[in-house]
Symmetry: C2
Subunit: 301 residues, 2 copies
């Protein structure tokens, strides 16, 4: 599982900082999460192949999380993309994109599918044979979702020595990988645990931005491997955090602690701060495993 931060600063793009966007690579899928202005240039700078992105998840309709989407879609069209693109985001996103495509007389040659979100309950919005994605309802000034990406438990791993010792025919291998016991020709029943190893441990990633401190998300993100939680402000701006419905570094760490996650990644910093290390310092007083997101940084989990 690899996470590349394209942008992790709040409010506006600036000379050296970008608004929210990140790419999660999980089980060979490339998910784009949020798409602030300049995301397509950040994708180029970070050498991420446009054509591998088939799903875009938009948390909410504040500009620093979606103003780059229309440009990215237009560029896909100019690059003669043919593969379908699926956009998951709040109701309204379809109207915004389609209006601009219509007025610029630039329809796409690829299938462009919008999956508009309105529910205030966590729901499964994407699922294939390897990954499942659920919403994490957040509390912000407009309708907002985080997203939980979970690998699915895979097949059990065949113990090749064991199946050969028992002279089991290859045609039973898939059944064994699915967890079945095997009855040999002489009537002996061999338990599956003697023929297989446990499957590779599954990983999970929760993206939670933007949100006020909100314990309602805890049951959904409990025990995830990696939690990205916004920390727009430091302690000194706690009241501003409440007013603008954002979180402080300590609040993010408190959520991580209570949800018993393995690793917390902080981001969505207000550009008022010159030294983002202070976010780590303040969060570490509550939760030990803190990483700081920064534009262009890549994390392997």
């Amino acid at each position: 599982m690899n996470l590349t931060i394209l942008g992790c600063y709040a409010a506006t793009p600036r000379t050296f900082t970008n608004p929210t966007s990140q790419v999660l690579e999980i089980r060979n899928r490339l998910f784009l999460i949020d798409c602030g202005e300049g995301t397509q240039v950040q994708l180029r700078k970070n050498k991420i192949r446009f054509s591998k992105i088939n799903q875009v998840f938009i948390s909410h309709l504040h500009g620093d999380h979606f103003f780059g989407l229309i440009g990215l879609i237009s560029t896909f069209a100019l690059l003669n993309r043919t593969k379908d693109l699926h956009v998951y985001g709040p109701k309204g996103i379809k109207e915004i994109i389609n209006l601009q495509l219509r007025l610029s007389n630039s329809w796409t040659n690829f299938g462009l599918y919008f999956h508009e979100l309105e529910s205030n309950e966590s729901e499964i919005i994407f699922e294939d044979e390897k990954v499942i994605v659920r919403t994490i309802p957040l509390k912000h000034r407009v309708y907002t979702n985080g997203f939980l990406f979970q690998e699915k438990v895979g097949d059990r791993k065949l113990d090749l020595n064991a199946v050969q010792n028992y002279e089991i025919d290859t045609c039973y291998y898939q059944k064994i990988k699915n967890g079945k016991d095997i009855t040999l020709d002489d009537g002996r029943v061999i338990e599956n645990s003697k023929l297989t190893f446990d499957p590779i441990a599954v990983k999970s990633y929760a993206f939670c931005s933007d949100t006020i401190y909100n314990e309602n998300m805890i049951p959904i993100i409990e025990r995830v491997d990696v939690l990205y939680h916004e920390s727009t402000f430091l302690d000194s701006e706690e009241s501003l955090a409440k007013k603008t419905m954002h979180s402080t570094a300590k609040e993010a760490a408190t959520i991580a602690l209570k949800a018993n996650v393995k690793q917390l990644v902080l981001g969505h910093y207000s550009t008022r701060y010159e030294n983002i290390k202070l976010f780590k310092q303040q969060a570490e007083t509550i939760f030990p495993n803190i990483l700081l997101a920064d534009d262009g940084k890549s994390f392997e989990f």
Copy 2:
């Protein structure tokens, strides 16, 4: 008159090139012309004061000319702008911007005025005491205008020695600057030309992008000081230029020649070319005074 190129490449923003946007400073006014994605970052990089921009002119609704506008307007709002902002552009621009402001629940505290253009005739769209702006109807795949910026002829300059020699009272100075003759107490009539110098020569700038080769613009831009004319393609792509309704470097030079302009600035290069000097070489075979626009370049005229 100063022209700063924020972006002058066609189609999409890339790692080192930006889509169309430029700032014209004329008689202490700062006009923003087109606003591709990333324009607000380019304004920062080029140290142009956001607050001095009160008028934005959008040529047409292709993304590489306006996708940065919603981000710029949102940033103005975040910076607590209070001064009115006027946007001149094709019908539809108001709906695009207002839809996004409405869905992000982020209305501006400043007056945001849209002047939507629909006419196929040149018309005056802005005028104050020092500058006048007219549309230049262009031919492209969607409704498109160029813009002609003209300084107004100012007052005549007072010849202080002359008026003092004739012992003319200061209360007549404004009349003299306006071009009136003066009758002295002894009845002598002093011609204005003996009391004043010619006013400072007025300058003019024509922005013409995007357009197919189109001689209809010539009467409007005749004898301008500076013509920015798109040259998306080189000679080798002449048929592609026609198909996509763009111009070649030589076609831009032909317009400059026929319109008898003083200076031609080329831009809106297709990103397929590695060496933009070829645009100058090809254009110079037709018209002598060629400058090449490039991102971050500033021209004083």
